[in-house]
């Protein structure tokens, strides 16, 4: 059995670095995704405050609402790390419970984003209404897409565990999934601070 938090390779896997291929690949992908989101955040900042027409950010952004969304995503990170611990301890019932909790929290965040987007749309902010709309929807939209992919991935893992295809022997495989989910969370930490809270 592999241990996610230690430096142990899954049985039968041998690498020069002592790191599993999946883990190394995921961290490399996440490093490249940093650059991807870095460029999107940069574009948002390049046009920040250079909007020739409304609606302007302070007119539409709902900070209390988004603060709750941010808390929901942070809570989902906690839930998935608890799921990982349960899997390491071969507690499959606990694992499925925490994993389902993570999926529901992710869905709640995504539903909240859908509500936010439709509210903005009704207030006149669209992808083409002004530079704020374009940069905001592209940045948060790509993040939402990442969350959606994460939810689908977690749902597959939950179903696999239900049919006995994901067992404590697959800790390393699940650990790699958790890395992706936490990354989605840390990207939101940055977006929440820079887009929503940063003063104009």
């Amino acid at each position: 059995m592999s241990h996610a938090t230690g430096h142990t390779l899954p049985a039968g896997e041998h690498t020069v670095t002592g790191i599993s291929h999946n883990r190394l690949l995921m961290w490399t992908f996440l490093a490249s995704d940093c650059m991807f989101f870095g460029s999107l955040i940069w574009v948002y900042f390049a046009y920040r405050g250079r909007y020739f027409e409304g609606p302007y950010p302070r007119e539409v952004l709902d900070i209390p609402y988004t603060s709750v969304s941010a808390a929901v995503l942070l809570l989902s990170s906690f839930a998935i790390v608890m799921a990982l611990t349960a899997l390491e301890r071969a507690d499959m019932r606990g694992f499925r419970g925490w994993l389902l909790g993570t999926i529901l929290l992710g869905a709640l965040f995504l539903g909240g984003q859908y509500y936010e987007f439709t509210t903005f749309y009704h207030e006149g902010l669209t992808l083409t209404s002004n530079l704020f709309g374009t940069t905001f929807f592209v940045l948060t939209g790509f993040h939402g897409t990442h969350v959606f992919i994460g939810i689908v991935w977690l749902l597959v893992q939950w179903l696999l565990s239900l049919f006995g295809k994901l067992t404590p022997a697959h800790v390393e495989r699940f650990f790699v999934t958790t890395l992706y989910w936490h990354f989605v969370d840390i990207v939101w930490i940055i977006i929440f601070m820079l887009v929503y809270l940063m003063p104009y």
């Binding site: 940093c34 906690f78 650990f175």
Partner: protein, 105 residues
């Protein structure tokens, strides 16, 4: 099975709860910083960045296990972050040179 002798003590649920409490406190303080923006003035932006950095590091170090994992992985992730931040800094400098600093209202 191949095991490295440098494996660290593995954290458990108690650590995850402590990290969650810290993340919650940092988020509340972040929002309060936003609420008291007019009082804090120019300090608002750096304070927000510090709280976000604390949250970022807590998630990466503990929930993503980077603190307990192979240093090579820290290097790979830091490299990606460094390139992203460098591009951001270079573009900000170019904007500043051409008289269009970022964060202008």
């Amino acid at each position: 099975m191949h095991e490295h002798p440098t494996a660290h003590a593995q954290p458990g649920p108690a650590t995850w709860v402590r990290v969650l409490i810290l993340l919650t406190i940092a988020t509340i303080l972040e929002v309060l910083t936003y609420v008291f923006e007019s009082t804090l003035g120019v300090l608002t932006a750096p304070i927000l960045m510090i709280f976000a950095a604390v949250k970022f590091v807590l998630v990466v170090a503990y929930y993503m296990h980077l603190k307990f994992d192979n240093r090579i992985l820290t290097g790979i992730f830091a490299w990606g972050m460094l390139i992203a931040i460098s591009i951001f800094a270079a573009m900000a400098a170019i904007y500043h040179i051409y008289g269009q600093p970022l964060l202008t209202p």
